[in-house]
Symmetry: C2
Subunit: 184 residues, 2 copies
């Protein structure tokens, strides 16, 4: 019978997020999914790379639906940005879970997935830029602020894991909407 594939992928996610691509060994994956090697290769004929791709796709869809699409709603810009902060806090578990885009930016993971990582980051910045333009910021300033937003989120994730405290991440998220919209 057709098993719930996305159920497996959901169990794959934390392994790749925590260990990165090269650190996500078949042993760790097997343990986390409670599936033997043969089963894993049955579901993912492309092997480990296929599993990583499935994780990337799964999280990408979650991100699109939960973070990016609401940025295009018809609510006020400030409301859309607040909604993004709330969803990001969930998505990154208060900053305790790392971003797959940075987890895949080392060694072999970088070689394999750089194009997709780049595309995801660009899309995120583009969508944010659009919201800020709708809030009457100049195109140039909007793009700069959008970039700043992504920078602050990614940096806060690094600091939060490094300092072992969720405080920096949650503070950044809270300040973000007003800071992005403030007058130059």
């Amino acid at each position: 019978m057709a098993i719930d594939k996305s159920e497996i992928v959901r169990k794959l996610v934390p392994v790749f997020r925590h260990y990165g691509y090269e650190g996500a060994t078949l042993s760790r994956i097997s343990k986390a999914t409670e599936l033997g090697r043969a089963s894993l290769y049955h579901h993912f004929p492309a092997g480990k790379q296929g599993m990583a791709q499935a994780v990337l796709t799964y999280l990408g869809e979650w991100f699109d639906a939960t973070i990016l699409d609401p940025l295009q709603s018809d609510k006020e810009p400030v409301e859309r940005l607040k909604a993004m902060s709330d969803s990001l806090n969930q998505f990154y578990n208060h900053g305790q879970d790392s971003c797959i885009l940075s987890a895949f930016s080392w060694g072999e993971g970088h070689d394999l997935f750089h194009a997709q990582v780049q595309q995801a980051l660009k899309t995120w910045v583009d969508r944010l830029t659009q919201v800020l333009i709708e809030a009457d910021l100049s195109a140039a300033l909007a793009r700069q602020r959008a970039e700043d937003a992504v920078i602050q989120i990614q940096g806060a994730l690094v600091l939060t894991r490094g300092l072992n405290s969720t405080a920096p991440f949650e503070r950044i998220l809270m300040q973000l909407p007003d800071e992005l919209l403030k007058l130059a």
Copy 2:
């Protein structure tokens, strides 16, 4: 005869920075240093972990001497911060080289070096806080801005590698001094 140990460590640095701890295999290390396995273990009896520790110590000393100590000079705060930006641009090669602190924050690297990573980040934030207090910011605001600075630098490194462009990193560094000192 005593060989120049730090010469070897210098060659070790880019390997651990690029691949992280688990991705820095003996093969890659051997290739980068042009030393055979036996030679590597002769110089580093503690093996790979010892090599990683040597890299961490080496970069830590460079960072202390080049970034942190000048923050305590008797120049004007704004001048000290500008000097930090310049040195960081060198240290991270315009954002193209990653931070060893984030490279060691995955999997086994995290387990082994988290305490040292945490200490290094804390020290950096503390030193910056002190400079901002000397610039007449309140203690609370100074600490928050100091944290923001490290967040922005780390985030810009992520974005710069992800987008394959040095622009975000260099822009952040350029804006940093004035932004940290601006009135609330």
